[in-house]
């Protein structure tokens, strides 16, 4: 009989967790509750004597100062309804795992398999509540029913039953493990059904390629020699589905595109990836010649560039959109701990130095009906923010840079970008740190977490649109501590040279990681029965493709294996030999010594011909609205400052540890009250040195409504502009591209596929052009191409989105520049010209239209300006610098002023204007989002030197910093068009998301 240990706060101790839930219920659900209490529940499903149960309850499970515990007796009192929330069977239960370990220390030996400790949380509600209210609280706030279960008891029911009964979420296992054969000699319609029902995400064409492979007499003969029949096994079919999934194979970026531009000119593009992204890097590198700093691009889990003679930088940005749509907390948590494994599994392995995160959500205050299965944007917001918080903070990696972008269409799928950078020794045991290899005979070793049913079909389900039947198993919860233990061990094993190759176990699980590793030496042979499981009863195909978290795959030379395994044991990390690498050209999988998959490597990796995708670009005009001129734009400015895309995100950012590891130089917030928004992050990864890493990003999906070309160039420019603003060097900076698109493949479900594909083509062409102009090699990236929701009637497609991240170096962190105006009397300069470019702007959006005059980047001019500005930074001539983006000059000036605690007086007549004189007007000088502009303040003594530095790059002195705490902007006509106290402006900027 399982035992329940209930741990409650002592009388009089404030329940901060309960208070927070109460606030959220009132804020989001608009339900009034008088009080919320919380009780921790440990369900011990193990044969333990009473004395040990009491020792666990009074020792590790409770805090004697503030808590009391009860064994097998309910602790709850004084409430009207009780709700208990626990995990469903098989879902990662971190607290339960730690509780079990704690008990093991008390017992002095491991608890036998099959016995365990489970955690649940009990909420006690007081107030005038109905059961249906409580039901709403449970399902809309406390619990995600995909991964959690809940029980509601009224006070009367609770009293009658003597509290909640112990509930053990043990996984019920299948009686018999069996490998099935699948008959592909069937009608086409049946092939389609097999793929759909199995969440294989294989098209009919792909199913027929597999069918043809199994018809080949040579294949049949070779299989017969292995004791296999002519039909594929479920292990093989699942393995191919993972390997060939859009998620793993990037079929759209590898496709042959038949593109037609707006003039009917046709072009055949063989792989967007090769033609634009890879070519960008190779052309930039050629031009850099001896100054080339790229070390490993596109071939490993993350890109690697040089930092200095002794160290290299590693960076990767990933998305975790589909899982975050279903379970925002778990999806985002696995997103961050998942991307951590990429730089860690690059080259010989890297120490992780910072995280970045960018989220795209719908309005958290969204008040319209949503299609079934979609979570409310506020829940997505809350869950994602918390998931990344736990993932990043617990891993001890500072979250240094990020943003949140809002657009209604992101309710179809939120975008959750997570990035991680690492620092790698330039040489590890005499070998370049970014290189690795495998020799036939090396052992296949898996380390870290165990395999369960969680995360099955993650790769394939994210390769389809989100729909009502999206599989529950694709969702999982990360365990940062298990991963951290593994990293602590592996980084030491790296330095001892104990392994030859390391990679991450991510999408597709072992099928993907070992499949790719086997490509290094041309074959492998592994026995899935050796893999450690969370619970018995997994089918071999499930073991092969499970995406259970916190695992790395390694190649360990046989002579090192004893030392490797012994060290793993000392560090409390599970490591298991699954087989060995070979060179016989076969991906050979066994289960208990019997062959269950026998796939020629060539077929697995090269058996799939490129897709053929049509793309047809057309210029789409948006309605043009001209707003009547006003005498005063102060109200417009306040409205913009409080807009979701511009307002302060401090309530979120403060929840992320942005300083751990001690290297933070430019933090997310700066200025006199530590609350002005920084443009980019500067981090010193080596505490004994002033060399710094600078990172920034750009993202502007709204411009895609006009033209993805300009969406792309503006995103790249924004990233570089932010990077340059704080002092990043143009001599060592690289880019990462993350494309998130709506499905661009023409089909019945996507009748406008050719246009969406053309948007992608234009984006790629623009990326090539601008990166070449900016000398920006692309070192890594990722695409996520199915960001749609479709339930058969409602379709929601996200706006085409490129997140462009940059990483680079700054020679001396002590020269970094922040965005806050520094002192009264300083001169204000605007670098760069302003044009009639309100198209796609925040100002246009606030006025209910899109427009057409999207900002156009002039990269040659901008690059010259950035170079000159960097020289001014190096000479110490710049007091502050803030990039102009959403909301234009007015917003940038307001932010710089209130961050600095100084006023500003500006004259629009002095602003450099590019365009027809007749169109020049206050509105656009204030709010136009023309690219490549920076707002700089300079001490009067440095005026001459600064102007000399920036000469010829398009600068204008537009005003000065003042003592009076006001922002005053004089219009072209000479009278003030903006006049406001800084406190008012700051309040507008801070109020919107303060309570989230």
């Amino acid at each position: 009989m399982p035992n329940r240990i209930e741990v409650a706060l002592r009388h009089g101790v404030r329940d901060a967790r309960g208070e927070r839930i109460k606030r959220e219920i009132e804020h989001f659900l608009k339900i009034q509750v008088t009080a919320v209490q919380t009780i921790d529940i440990y369900t011990v499903d193990a044969e333990l004597p009473q004395k040990l149960l009491e020792a666990a309850a009074s020792g590790p499970f409770s805090d004697p100062v503030m808590q009391e515990w009860l064994l097998d007796s309910p602790a709850g009192r004084e409430f009207d309804f009780a709700v208990e929330v626990g995990f469903r069977p098989g879902v990662t239960d971190n607290v339960g795992r730690t509780a079990r370990e704690a008990v093991e220390y008390l017992v002095g030996h491991p608890i036998p398999a099959g016995e365990s400790v489970y955690y649940s949380l009990q909420y006690l509600f007081s107030g005038d509540l109905t059961r249906s209210c409580v039901e709403r609280i449970a399902t809309e706030l406390l619990c995600n029913t995909l991964i959690q279960r809940y029980t509601i008891l009224s006070a009367a029911e609770f009293a009658q039953a003597g509290g909640f009964p112990p509930l053990v979420p043990r996984v019920q296992v299948a009686a018999k493990i069996a490998v099935k054969e699948i008959d592909l000699e069937v009608l086409d319609t049946e092939l389609v059904r097999i793929s759909r029902d199995g969440v294989l995400a294989l098209t009919l064409e792909e199913m027929k390629i597999i069918q043809a492979h199994y018809r080949s007499p040579k294949v049949i003969a070779a299989r017969a020699a292995q004791g296999l029949g002519a039909k594929p096994t479920d292990v093989e079919l699942e393995c191919l589905a993972q390997t060939w999934s859009e998620h793993c194979k990037h079929k759209i970026f590898a496709a042959t595109v038949h593109y037609e531009d707006e003039n009917g000119k046709k072009e055949e593009i063989n792989s967007l990836f090769k033609s634009y992204i890879q070519r960008t890097t190779s052309d930039v590198r050629k031009r850099m010649g001896e100054k080339d700093f790229c070390l490993s691009v596109f071939k490993d889990n993350a890109g690697v560039i040089r930092f200095n003679d002794d160290w290299s930088l590693v960076f990767k940005v990933e998305t975790h959109n589909s899982p975050s749509a279903l379970d925002p907390y778990g999806g985002a948590l696995t997103g961050i701990v998942g991307v951590n494994r990429d730089p860690f599994g690059t080259g010989q392995g890297a120490k992780l130095i910072f995280n970045t995160d960018v989220f795209c959500f719908a309005d958290p205050f969204y008040a319209k009906p949503l299609p079934k299965r979609l979570l409310h944007p506020r829940r997505i917001f809350e869950g994602v923010v918390e998931g990344v918080e736990h993932g990043g903070n617990k891993s001890g990696i500072p979250t240094v840079n990020g943003s949140i972008v809002f657009d209604e269409r992101f309710c179809g799928k939120p975008l959750v970008f997570c990035g991680t950078a690492g620092l790698m020794p330039a040489f590890v045991n005499g070998q370049p740190g970014h290189e690795k290899s495998i020799k036939a005979g090396d052992l296949i070793v898996m380390t870290g977490g165990r395999i369960g049913k969680d995360g099955i079909h993650g790769a394939t389900f994210s390769s389809e649109e989100l729909n009502e039947n999206s599989p529950v198993t694709a969702v999982q919860i990360g365990d940062p501590i298990t991963q951290k233990r593994m990293f602590d061990f592996l980084i030491r094993a790296r330095d001892k040279g104990l392994y030859r190759f390391i990679t991450d176990n991510g999408a597709g699980g072992l099928s993907s990681s070992i499949g790719e590793m086997a490509g290094e030496c041309n074959g492998c042979r592994m026995d899935l029965a050796k893999a450690p499981l969370k619970y018995p009863g997994l089918e071999p195909w499930e073991i092969l493709i499970s995406e259970a978290q916190e695992r790395m795959s390694l190649a360990v030379p046989p002579e090192n294996i004893d030392e490797f395994l012994a060290m793993a044991q000392r560090f409390g990390v599970e490591a298991t030999v699954l087989g060995e690498f070979t060179d016989n050209g076969v991906f050979h999988v066994l289960y208990e010594d019997k062959t269950v998959a026998w796939l020629p490597m060539a077929f697995m990796h090269e058996g799939l011909p490129p897709m053929q995708i049509p793309a047809r670009w057309e210029v789409r005009r948006q309605a043009e609205v001209r707003i009547a001129a006003k005498n005063d734009y102060t109200g417009d400015l306040k409205q913009l400052l409080s807009a979701l895309n511009i307002c302060s995100k401090e309530s979120v950012v403060r929840r992320y540890d942005h300083e751990v590891q001690g290297g933070s130089v430019v933090k997310p917030f700066t200025g006199i009250s530590n609350d002005g928004p920084s443009d980019a992050a500067v981090v010193r990864p080596l505490l004994g040195s002033f060399e710094a890493v600078v990172t920034a990003h750009g993202i502007c999906p709204r411009y895609s409504d006009i033209d993805t070309w300009h969406m792309t160039t503006n995103a790249v420019d924004e990233a570089l502009r932010n990077y340059v603003a704080v002092g990043g060097s143009l001599d060592l900076v690289a880019g990462l591209d993350n494309f998130c698109w709506c499905d661009p493949v023409l089909s019945d479900k996507t009748p406008d596929g050719s246009f969406k594909m053309a948007q992608l083509v234009r984006s790629n062409k623009a990326l090539y052009d601008i990166c070449l102009a900016y000398n920006l090699p692309l070192i890594s990236g990722k695409d996520s191409m199915k960001n749609d929701f479709y339930d058969g009637s409602v379709k929601i497609s996200i706006p085409p989105t490129l997140l462009f991240s940059v990483i680079g170096r700054m020679e001396d962190a002590r020269k970094a520049v922040t965005m806050d105006a520094k002192r009264p009397g300083d001169l204000v300069y605007l670098l760069g010209a302003t044009a009639d470019e309100l198209g796609g702007s925040e100002y246009s959006a606030a006025n209910g239209f899109i427009g057409n005059n999207v900002p156009k980047v002039d990269p040659e001019t901008a690059y010259g300006r950035y170079r000159a500005y960097h020289q001014a930074v190096n000479l110490g001539l710049v007091a502050s610098c803030h990039d102009l983006s959403d909301g234009g000059l007015a917003v940038a000036a307001a932010e710089s002023a209130f961050a600095g605690g100084c006023g500003m007086e500006l004259k629009l007549a002095a602003v450099l204007y590019k365009g027809e004189a007749a169109d020049r007007r206050d509105e656009l000088l204030l709010f136009s989002e023309s690219a490549s502009r920076l707002l700089v303040t300079v001490h009067p003594e440095k005026r001459q030197a600064f102007e000399q530095c920036l000469q010829g790059t398009g600068i204008a002195a537009i005003g000065k910093v003042t003592e009076k705490l006001q922002l005053t902007i004089e219009g072209i006509g000479g009278s003030a068009v903006v006049q406001a106290d800084l406190a008012e402006l700051k309040e507008a900027w801070q109020g919107t998301l303060r309570d989230l």
């Binding site: 901060a16 499970f61 971190n94 730690t98 001890g396 951290k484 409390g572 950012v653 751990v660 001690g662």
Partner: protein
């Protein structure tokens, strides 16, 4: 004397080992060893060989049973491999030998939950205080002004004029005592070394965000009666150079950060007294 040696324990979710070791070296220690807990449990490294023990920030075991609870349990019960010695015996000997321990953030939580602080009457394994969820209900990363008690016996804070400015980064930093008598004794013996205060260090404050967690009597850190054991929620190792200050680009600051003095005092004490 022999070399002054600091040790920083890491593993199972400890995060700040690198900057803590850097702070020790910058503060004047000859050596700062980052030791994984497994190296202590295997017997490869022994606390006896060091003078200054750093229990640093992080999320020990994910703080799954409450911050640092699982590690407190581990340290109390785990046995050194191949011997009968419990790890906790090394801790007790370390304290009895008159050596120094600084617990920061998660390390402070660990010390309090093991009973090392306030450690009344030399009883270092009896818990009388705790650290729990911030009143705001959320993790917070922000900088705080810490008013120092000049009459405190604490050796780490010697020479601090009014107070120091450091970042806090925690979700469970609210200090609570088991009884009013414990709190009173802490105050009476001047063991509450640091209190959250206004920016002039004039008075302790209960107002958010200056007091980020609603801590009792605004307590941010305490020491034991000997002054050799100290724990605090703010991170001194995170401010040893001016570029770590959130406003260094606008203020004239000395080269060293406010937190360094704790490590300097520790190094000086070790060199003089151990």
């Amino acid at each position: 004397m022999s070399k002054s040696r600091a040790i920083v324990i890491t593993g199972n979710g400890t995060n700040c080992e690198m900057e803590a070791a850097h702070a020790c070296l910058t503060g004047g220690f000859d050596e700062a060893v980052i030791a994984h807990i497994s190296e202590l449990l295997s017997g490869a490294i022994r606390l006896d060989d060091f003078h200054f023990l750093n229990l640093t920030g992080g999320f020990l075991d994910g703080d799954d049973l409450g911050s640092a609870k699982a590690q407190a349990n581990r340290l109390k019960n785990a046995v050194i491999s191949g011997s009968k010695e419990k790890l906790v015996e090394q801790f007790s000997r370390f304290i009895a030998d008159g050596k120094l321990i600084l617990g920061v953030c998660n390390g402070f939580q660990l010390m309090v939950k093991m009973g090392m602080l306030p450690g009344f009457d030399g009883n270092y394994l009896h818990q009388t205080a705790t650290l729990t969820y911030n009143d705001c209900g959320r993790f917070q990363d922000r900088w705080c002004y810490l008013k120092a008690d000049p009459e405190s016996p604490c050796i780490f804070t010697r020479g601090i004029d009014k107070g120091i400015y450091l970042p806090i980064r925690h979700g469970e930093g609210k200090f609570l005592c088991d009884t009013p008598a414990t709190l009173e004794r802490i105050e009476q013996e001047h063991l509450a070394v640091f209190k959250y205060s206004d920016s002039c260090y004039s008075a302790p404050t209960m107002a958010f965000p200056e007091n980020p967690n609603g801590s009792t009597h605004a307590i941010a850190g305490i020491c034991d009666a000997s002054g050799r054991l100290m724990g605090m929620m703010p991170h001194p190792e995170a401010f040893v150079h001016y570029t770590q200050h959130p406003r260094w680009t606008r203020e004239e600051l000395p080269e060293s950060g406010d937190g360094l003095i704790l490590y300097k005092n520790a190094a000086d004490y070790v060199k003089l007294s151990l």
